[in-house]
Subunit: 177 residues, 2 copies
């Protein structure tokens, strides 16, 4: 961040009065610009025991496999974000069950939420940001071609819970690689 | 948002190629500025059956009661945010138990997370953003002087769960008032 979004003047890093952290503060109008973590939200969507994955058509991690997920937008709820991302990336319609995982990733300022979900039918297809979409049973998950560590955590935990006969809610923090 | 954070030129609202939403796009350098929901994180902290509340010393809702909570910062996990806010607003040390509530508030672009927690001791005090802090048992909660609807939802649900003998995880979306 170089410039103030309000007046366009240069910003400088300083600790505002009453604060304890460095913020981008405008040198002209004094506006304080706060930067906060972003939410990435998606689904672990099941159809007849298999899970829906998408192969990424965009960077980062072009060509690798991921769960349908993306940045939450202003004006929506967390479940609306999960439904929208699943529709956009995999052209799939799902019913959301419960929140399954919350994964903090402090070094990239993100929090990932994944919901368990069921596909309403076997109709799905690659959206604009996907090269292909497919259903995988556990032995066929492309473990060495997964795009993100949060996705790997989610899939491993999902199958462990399924084997144990009960799905929980899982919270996890990913350290820097 | 009027100006580009990268180059300072004016931004205009338009739908970028491959997108379906209006974004603030820089008229000079082309940078696309995404606005995303913010996370507010706090604790429902119990000490000998009573809950810790803070009376706000800042706007909005100056003078009204709230759970210790605030905006998640870059570089921290969700539980670190909950611990930090509880320390800053109530000078209290807690042990976090489980995530208790996730409340989407789409019309103000926020998601609130509240953890159940236990105070480590009865030492607490008003932080800089609080006028006073106090422990309340259920009949004495200042229901008509609560600062936020998410706090009211959280407290009502907490006491209902406690009466029922088991704490769950609660997801809720607040409509505009």
């Amino acid at each position: 961040m170089n410039h103030c979004t309000r007046c366009g003047a240069k910003v400088a890093l300083r600790v505002p009065e009453g604060d304890s952290r460095l913020r981008h503060v405008c040198g002209r109008c004094g506006e304080i610009h706060y930067l906060n973590p972003k939410l990435v939200i998606g689904c672990v969507a099941e159809w007849e025991g298999r899970l829906l994955l998408c192969r990424r058509a965009i960077e980062p991690r072009h060509g690798l496999w991921t769960l349908p997920a993306g940045f939450m937008e202003n004006g929506e709820s967390t479940t609306q974000a999960a439904l929208r991302e699943t529709r956009e990336e995999a052209c799939a319609r799902v019913v959301i069950d419960r929140l399954f995982a919350l994964i903090s990733i402090p070094h990239i300022d993100q929090v990932h939420l994944f919901y368990r979900a069921r596909l309403l039918d076997a109709e799905f297809d690659a959206g604009e940001e996907s090269l292909e979409t497919a259903l995988f049973d556990e032995p066929r998950i492309p473990w060495d071609r997964l795009a993100f560590r949060s996705v790997a955590f989610c899939l491993e935990t999902y199958f462990a819970d399924r084997r144990a006969g009960a799905f929980g809610f899982h919270e996890h923090t990913l350290p820097p690689p």
